[in-house]
Structure formats: structure tokens, C-alpha cells
Symmetry: C2
Subunit: 370 residues, 2 copies
């Protein structure tokens, strides 16, 4: 089976092997060294000099830790143009007054509306950088620029961008950034990393959930420990995955992700399919997951089931509002050229048989030239 | 190295190997089967017909999910005679009014004080079954009986008892029980399982943390899914660990844990050491972790460091209030006779050299006869 999901992703053999070892105590010096190394590489991935905290939990746990821990800031505004933007709104509602700015899924966020919300007194902006549910890259830099003008805190879900596309937390002026390990970092699911600016601590809320209280993680970091028992096995895997990121280099890694996703988009458009997201001059197509509209004449279920049964390749469906309307091909982690070509070959085969598209593999192949 | 910590524990080779496989999608039927199997075995472990929910996070995440999700019940009373009891108090304070009943570490909880708190209007009792920090087994059945008289909700931290000692949630009348995978279940750290009675749902609080909101886990269970991305790798390991529990049988497993811990206690007392906890007629010594006072003439650090360096065996220190005063030997998971004897041999060797104890290995050996 080849997993082409937007997380969890296909694991590299090195990462799988890293987990095949006996447990170590999480208060040991050995674990401390792993935590230290992971923190250092994560700073590079996030483009920050801020400390990075690791929570055992999904990306959602990381986002909630960021929102809850700094919910003392005041009123939030959330930018929602997909499932994960909506989730940020739901989280924020549990801790603070929120103005949830809702946009059509796959359509850009309206930066003017953001300004208006900030004028009305919002003190924090929570948004998704790479919206996995729609394949849209939201304009993090522009959003942060506007937020800074109003001195608002910025909390960014970088769960499916960090490690696969540029994330420049310090340069852009982001206060809190979150990633999950099972996406572009190339590790298994179960850990979230959260980077926090000094400024965010001014808005610390001691009534946040104990397990997601970033102050406890901050207190334990100098001892190279976590406040609660971490998923040690997943740290073994993350350490190896981050070694691979160091070896490849972040610039090269971003280039690879961009090249692979561009090949998928180029194939889709030339085959006669249409991409789901409709970026404007500020936003863009995602470089880690491509969302494609299901053409007439086949159901999403039939397409994905046939590709899985015949080729052993797992594609992603649409979630919630776009269920049955789109399919998604992720290009995350250690995915390479051959896996992308294998996937496009499979999808093309199934759609060609029904005369729903034109052959377009050559277009992808050209994009993937070294 | 041999890990004799009260979690994370030494992993069985089968459990380690179970993780050495490629990722699968967490929305796949294959993952669903694993979740189903784990839920079924966990019901037996908890002694319940209630549904069991799995949270990716530490045991603390599980306890917080239980307290927060049902914090609509009203005032809490917490029983605190060790670190983890205190943690329950800290968690409860973030969600509700709490009367924190504090007892000396290692001393029994006073059931009369519990009654008084219930008389004063507490509507929920949160307590630790097996208090790892002190090696004390609190009287879960007695506590639940009193709570039921006052119609109060019971939330039990069974993190280091379930799978190693008897937990009879339904028989005792416990509403919420929590376990972590890295203790007596014999799996790596990173998952918590929470069993919930029907009655608890009457007190659901929709303002609980989203990531720890058990209602979301309940909603997804019939689809054999979790609401947020689970740590799939850890489920591979847990599935194998639970298969081993099925093969051994829960009765046999509890007997083994009891026998091993009794051997440790018998050795300690006959060697001239003293046990830290002082149970009364309701409470007991823990059957999964033994806490022993450090004798005069050696520091805790010297004892543990020497045992680790010379024998490669990792013992546990005391935490917080008893740091430096006790050492702890855990007998959890797949630990067997030879590992216990190796540990006692090592500790005895180091202490004998300093003339701090009498030889007592034979007493342990006798306890461990088949």
C-alpha cells in the first residue's frame, strides 16, 4: 500500500526502524538529548528563535494549547475557509469571545474583513496557514502584517505547512505556530510542536487546561523534560525524521514539496480536471496537498476504491462540506517523484477508462525533471 | 538496560515489533478493527460494560478528559495522599469548585472526611486507585460505596492499577475510570483509555477542552474512529500488548503482579528496610510499585546510580515531597520473576557492601515459587 493522505503519511523505512527499540525513561539524560535535538531542528523548521514545546497529542491538541494558554489576550478573530479554520473557531469559543469570520471553503480569506474585526477590538488572530481540507495556502505573511498593525497576537496552525513549505515565524511576526508530526515532518502521528514568542506570555491564562498548559511545558524545558509522560517511541521516530530534514536541508525540502505538488496540479489541469481551491493574489494553492474536483461520470468512492484496490494507493476524500465532491493527493514528508507518478498513473488509468479526462502524464513528468 | 520504573515500562519484544510497520490511515477499516479490539479488551481490564474511549496523550490527559467532560456535576471532592491525587485536585480546580482533602503522603485517606465533604454538598469524588508516588493502594471499593450513598459521581485514576491489579468498575460502581498504556498494560506511553458510565453523561460540560471532550470521542466510536488523529503506531503496540493480556488472562495477570510485588516487599522487610506507605485496614500496599525508604548511610542518588552503572537496571526515585527519601521498584506489564530477582540482587549487593541491610534474597525466592 502507498499512503498519499494529507497525514498520516507514508513513513520512511529509517523512521519505522527508529521505533524498533526498547523503552527509555522519559526523565533520563538520553531522552533529554532527543528532546533537545528535536527542539533545535524544529526552530529551523518554524523559522524562529523561540522555544518549541512538544505535546503528546494530535495537531489539534497543539492548536488548543496555543489558543487556551494565551486566551488571556481578550477577543479573538478566526479566519475560516475550511475545516481546520472552523476548528480553530470552535476551540477559541471555549476560552474567549470570538468573531468567527467565515468564508466559502476553498475561497480566499478577505483581509479587509480581518481589518474590520481588529478595528472592532479583536486582540488575537487565529488562522490556518495551509488549509488541508481545501488545498489552499492562506497568506500568513499578509495576515501577520495586518495583525501587527493592530498589535494583535497571531496564532498560526502550520500543521501541514511546516517542514513542507516556507514558515518564517520570526520574519512574518507570528506569535504562536503549531505543527503535527504526521505531516510534512515525516514522522508518525501523536506529537504536536508549538513555538511561542516571548510576547505571547503576557497573555497567559492560568485557567487553561492543565494538560495543554504551555507554562508547564516551558517550566520543564530547561531540564529537558516534559511535564507529563511523553510518547517516547514517537520521539525516537521524530528524531530520525528530523535528522532526515537536516540532511536534506530545509530549502531543498521545500523545493521538493513545491515541485511535487506543482506536478500534480499541472497533470490535473492538463488532463481536464479542475482544482478545487480558487486562490487570489494573496493566497495560493497548497504545496503539500492538492484538492481536485471529482469529474462527472464517477463517484468519489468509486475513484478512490478502484485506485486502492487495483494499485494499492490510498487517496484522500473530501471532508464534511466537500465530501464526495473532491479527492486529494498529498505530497508530504519523504514522498518522491516515483510515488507521485505512480499515483497519477493510477488515477489517470481509472478516469481514462471512463473517458473522463485526457492523458496528461507527460505534463507531470516534465515538471518533475531534475 | 532493564527498566523497572512505574512507567514507562520495559517493553516486550512482541510489542516493540508490532510498531515496525508502515503507517495506515486512521479512517481506514483496518484501523477501525484495531480500535474495536482494544476497546473490547479494555472493557475486561476495567471490569465494565461501559464504552472505552482512547485519547492520544498521557494518563493525565485521560484524567483531565474525565474531570473536565463531566464537570457539570457541581462541586468536587478530591482525595490526595500522593502526587497523582494532588494532580487530580489541580485539574478539578480548573473546572469546578473543589474541596481538596489532603492527607500525608503514604498515609491512608480518611473515609470519614470524605463523608463530611459529601455531607457539605460535594457531588463528585475524584481519587487515585493506585498512588504510584507512594506505593499505596487506595480503597476504591469503599470510596465508591460511600460516594454512591450520596449519589456522587466517581472518577478514578486507575492509571497504574488497571491491567495489574483488580479493577471492577461496574461492581464497585465507578462512573469514570482512566488508564495509561505505559503501565500495567505493557505498551509504550502516549495513549490513555477512559471508560464512562451512562450516568456520567448527565453531567456533561460542553465548555470542556475540545481535545479532551469525551462527547466527541463518543460520537466517533460507532464509526470506529477517533475525533482527532490518533497515534496509530501506539495502537499497533497496544493491540499486541492487549493480545498478550488476553492470552495470559486477567486473573493470571493480576496474580502475577501481586506475587512479584509481594516478593519485593518480603525481601525489603526481611533485609531490614522499611516500606514507605502505611496502609490501614481499608488501604493496602500497591501491587504494581513498591516504595522503600532509603536507609541511612547511602543517598538515593548513589543507590540508583550504582545499580544503573553496575547492573544496567533503572530504578525510580521519589518525586516531589519524597525526593531523596525513597526508591521505587515497579512490577508492571510483562515483568517476570527473573527481572525481579535481578533487581533485588543488584540492590542487595549495593546495600550489603555498606553493611546497611541483611541478605534476604531467599525470602523473595520463596515468594516466587510456582
Amino acid at each position: 500500500m502507498l499512503i498519499m493522505l494529507p497525514g498520516p503519511i507514508q513513513l520512511h523505512e529509517r523512521v519505522i526502524r527508529a521505533m524498533c527499540r526498547q523503552m527509555i525513561g522519559h526523565r533520563s539524560a538520553e531522552f533529554g538529548e532527543i528532546l533537545k535535538f528535536c527542539g533545535e531542528v524544529m526552530k529551523e523548521v518554524f523559522g524562529t528563535r523561540n522555544d518549541v514545546y512538544f505535546i503528546t497529542g494530535s495537531g489539534t491538541a497543539g492548536v488548543e494549547a496555543g489558543i487556551a494558554s494565551f486566551s488571556g489576550v481578550g477577543k479573538f478573530v478566526t479566519l475560516e475557509n475550511g475545516k481546520f479554520g472552523e476548528r480553530m473557531g470552535e476551540i477559541a469559543e471555549r476560552y474567549a469571545e470570538v468573531e468567527r469570520l467565515s468564508f466559502e471553503w476553498g475561497k480566499p480569506v478577505d483581509l479587509e474583513k480581518l481589518k474590520e474585526a481588529l478595528e472592532r477590538g479583536a486582540r488575537a488572530v487565529a488562522f490556518v496557514h495551509n488549509e488541508t481540507s481545501t488545498g489552499m495556502l492562506n497568506p500568513a505573511e499578509e495576515i501577520a502584517k495586518i495583525a501587527r498593525k493592530y498589535d494583535a497576537l497571531t496564532i498560526m496552525d502550520a500543521i501541514t505547512s511546516a517542514g513542507g513549505d516556507y514558515v518564517k515565524m520570526d520574519e512574518w511576526g507570528i506569535d504562536v505556530a503549531v505543527v503535527g508530526t504526521q505531516k510534512c515532518l515525516g514522522a508518525p502521528p501523536g506529537l504536536a510542536a508549538v513555538a511561542v514568542s516571548e510576547r505571547a506570555w503576557e497573555f497567559y491564562n492560568p485557567k487553561c487546561p492543565l494538560y495543554l498548559d504551555l507554562k508547564a511545558y516551558r517550566k520543564k524545558l530547561p531540564e529537558l523534560q516534559t511535564p507529563y509522560t511523553p510518547a517516547v517511541t514517537l520521539f525516537f521516530a521524530l528524531e530520525e525524521a528530523l535528522k532526515m530534514i537536516k540532511e536534506e536541508g530545509i530549502e531543498n525540502r521545500v523545493k521538493r514539496h513545491r515541485k511535487l505538488s506543482k506536478a500534480v496540479r499541472t497533470w490535473a489541469v492538463n488532463a481536464g480536471l479542475s482544482l478545487f481551491p480558487q486562490p487570489d493574489k494573496y493566497s495560493d494553492y497548497s504545496n503539500t496537498v492538492t484538492a481536485i474536483n471529482i469529474p462527472g461520470g464517477i463517484t468519489e468512492k468509486e475513484l478512490r476504491d478502484t485506485v486502492r484496490k487495483e494499485y494499492g494507493i490510498v487517496l484522500s476524500s473530501g471532508q464534511d462540506k466537500v465530501k464526495g465532491k473532491i479527492f486529494r493527493i498529498a505530497t508530504m514528508g519523504s514522498i518522491e517523484k516515483f510515488e507521485v507518478m505512480a499515483t497519477l498513473t493510477a488515477v489517470e488509468d481509472v478516469l481514462l477508462r471512463k473517458n473522463l479526462i485526457k492523458p496528461a502524464l507527460d505534463f507531470a513528468r516534465r515538471e518533475l525533471q531534475p
